[in-house]
Assembly symmetry: none
Homo-oligomer: 122 residues x 4
DNA sequence: GTGGTCTAGACCACC
DNA sequence: GTGGTCTAGACCACT
């Protein structure tokens, strides 16, 4: 359910963090649903619980998940997510778009990809 | 013309690389136009020429610029850019788009941003 | 009339306590007015009466409310409030003010906010 | 230069974090100035370097300090501080102000305290 | 020397 | 059982 790559330059806690974020975003972990416990995930990934805890902490203060000591960790609804992150993503979107258009990818292709995910009528 | 941020976690050569890439992409450096010489840029940024050279080498490797020994370094046309980079950008585009849609940004907003840059008729 | 957030890290009794304190402060519960009974409030919030009782006890201890056994619980007038709390709030006020000024918020803005609440003539 | 209180309910890393934040805010650590190294501070406070690191990490992603691996950790200028924190502080300012006014502290007293710190002419 | 990451193992409070 | 904190000690990359 979550792949680690030890040859990757990114630290493990960040790979865990991005993997979990992805799962929340695509709905693999639904809003309000419980995430695997720190210890369980650590065991199943064969890494130290502290490393998982660090990923969870970081995701929590970005507003993607929340923890209740003694109960578990759960996925938030999208409203609570840090505004700064949204702005950063929009900047990233603009930069990637600019470069793709420069590389002769047509706007229609990009728009098509947005609509595909957005479930829009054409 | 190119801003360095010593507080940024990214290494300097990468900041130079991305800065130059940006200038080519947005047309601040037109296709075929000559880039500043390694020594000049190094002097004006007050950093080591080796750092500049590393950025130039990396950009040449990705097909954004080419150098003619004895003459200088020039911006490529977009066709020559490494295919792998284009694929990587498309993947990044999809991921960023997915997350923005999850964060309740409407598809129309994203499409509007694409059209703005693409100069499309609606 | 009082919102609980189970995702909040603070314990429930503290959320109840702060919520009631807020209502007294802003006048939603006037001086001398009766607060809801422990059992009623517990039922309407769907939590344990002990939790409510703990919040009431703590507020009574700080001098914000008083209870008359067999009659109910009522809001105090502000004079009776624990002096220690006032000092603590002043310290907090100074610290928050210092940080906001450091963050380039102008003194005029802060003063404006005080006057707005205080109903002062300029 | 920084006091720990083991009887305090707050975790140590948070006490360190708030202590350092205070020092930056009041100018005890000037903008751009180097903070004590992780190891040195850990030794002088007789706690584990990991605990210090955690405090530094947290302050860094709030924008109060920045780290350069191999060189050290330095105080930021106030412009870079996370917007969310500023908003939170303003909310806190309003709440504390409301309660102090309720407790019969006159607006003039509060305004005087703001001006004192703000270096304003009356 | 510096910050950054990771592990192993412990203890706490809460449920 | 759960998350949260802390320690001790190791290793890495960079200056």
């Amino acid at each position: 359910m979550l792949q680690l790559d030890y040859r990757d330059a990114r630290p493990i806690y960040e790979q865990v963090k991005e993997g979990l974020r992805r799962m929340v975003i695509v709905g693999a972990i639904a809003q309000g649903e419980q995430l695997p416990s720190v210890r369980n995930l650590a065991r199943s990934l064969a890494i130290n619980p502290n490393t998982i805890q660090r990923a969870y902490d970081s995701l929590e203060n970005e507003g993607y998940i929340y923890s209740q000591p003694g109960r578990g960790t759960f996925a938030c609804s999208p409203e609570g997510v840090d505004e700064g992150r949204k702005e950063g993503l929009l900047t990233q979107f603009d930069q990637v778009t600019t470069e793709l258009l420069y590389l002769q990818v047509s706007p229609e292709v990009l728009i098509g990809r947005v609509q595909e995910k957005g479930g829009m009528q054409i």
